[in-house]
Symmetry: C2
Subunit: 227 residues, 2 copies
DNA sequence: CGCCCCTTTGAAGCATATCAAACCGCGTGG
DNA sequence: CCACGCGGTTTGATATGCTTCAAAGGGGCG
């Protein structure tokens, strides 16, 4: 039943170390962000690149009236904050206490010519693009249960630990990622739980056991690509 | 009233010629696609790069039951089909009769080291990513009228001709781009027309006159970034 | 000229949002 | 150590925005 875990192989570009990104070792600092603090803001200047050591980060955009769309969750190993321009396209906040390694942005400009740096950065950006496009399909055309099922499958694939899936984010975060309200997320989870696709570990609603990955995937059966 | 047109300046990366992309002149063929024909399919091999000379193209993904999400519309000047991997992430079809210039994909691999090629390709991909992220916000968090207003503003900015906005795509295409049904698009258009933000040129519903760009933009007032 | 596709508009239905209440675990301070 | 407060989650009732279904009109192209 853990077969799906095999999909882990390919997506681990981000597990390249940050200091490899520039094609050679560069010095990285470490920094710790408390739960809920901003790492950088939309339209803020791009100063650093980040790689998560522990914790979790949400990257999001806001409308002026407060509606929020989370573009991506960044988990341990993920590199984020890579920009072509001088300003960030979205904001980033620590979801829980998070330790990041960071390095000055301009290492990419200075060493951006070396072949490996080019390849690495391009792969990073195209991976982001692929994810964004897959997510557009989800946001525009999937039902609430399909969205939540797809989300859980994604988190399962990305999680390193087999067994329980520990979600660092709230239902509201998940909703803002999937284009739903927190209540709709909760209802979809309950539905998936009721039908035996998953169960909750202990009394925490953040720790989920995927009882039947096949059944879970069927709730999102219309998806062409699993990645 | 045409002040907004000034925004044209920045987005014209794609108006770089295709043969500049690789950093030097390469030979380009020309090809004509009839209305509705496929240019390449999702998961098909990446053989060429394309630049639109005349016409319009839709790039889209499908769910297995036929639900469609259009990722982007490609208009004259736009370069598309650029991939890092060997297979396409989405399908592309000509919306109307379309002439493209095309060149073998591997010119990027061969000449991918030259500084200008790197810069050009990176800019191309990050522009796509920026667009995708903006669109995720739209898909996940905007209402139907906001979506349609944002769409019209986008098309207006991208259109070269001032005056009437000539839309090559159907209401269904627009709906599949915005995560709506064709009827919802039609209703939103009617609403915008009724309140005087736009009117239809002649009796064609594809030719639109933006009577009041300011009013139109207000229907999408919550958007932070105009791009 | 005629057919077909596109668009509009109305009526009804449904999925998700909104509003509301209760429960729970957890951290804090008494 | 316990009471309390608070953020997070679930669940129910109701509301609503968008979809679905349906019909009619119009325009363009063969």
């Amino acid at each position: 039943m853990l077969v799906l875990k095999g999909k882990n192989q390919e997506r681990r570009t981000s597990s390249k170390e940050l200091d490899e990104l520039a094609g050679h070792a560069v010095k990285c600092s470490e920094f710790k962000y408390a739960r809920g603090t901003e790492i950088f803001g939309e339209k803020g200047p791009v100063e650093y690149l980040y790689q998560i050591k522990t914790g979790a980060v949400r990257g999001y955009k806001l409308l002026t009236d407060g509606r929020r769309q989370i573009m991506a969750f960044h988990l341990p190993g993920d590199i984020f904050g890579v920009e072509n321009s001088a300003v960030h396209r979205y904001s980033a906040e620590a979801i829980v206490e998070t330790t990041v390694r960071l390095t000055k942005r301009h290492v990419l400009d200075e060493n951006g010519d070396s072949a490996s740096a080019v390849t690495n950065v391009r792969k990073l950006v195209t991976d982001n693009l692929r994810h964004a496009e897959t997510h557009m399909l989800l946001l525009g055309r999937k039902t609430s249960v399909e969205k939540v099922a797809a989300f859980l499958v994604e988190m399962d694939i990305r999680s390193t630990a087999a067994g329980v899936l520990k979600l660092p984010m709230t239902r509201r975060d998940i909703g803002d990622y999937l284009g739903l309200t927190l209540e709709s997320v909760s209802r979809a989870m309950s539905q998936l739980s009721r039908c035996g696709a998953l169960s909750f570990s202990g009394r925490s609603q953040r720790q989920i056991i995927l009882q039947d990955r096949e059944k879970l995937a069927k709730f999102d059966y219309c998806t062409n690509d699993r990645l």
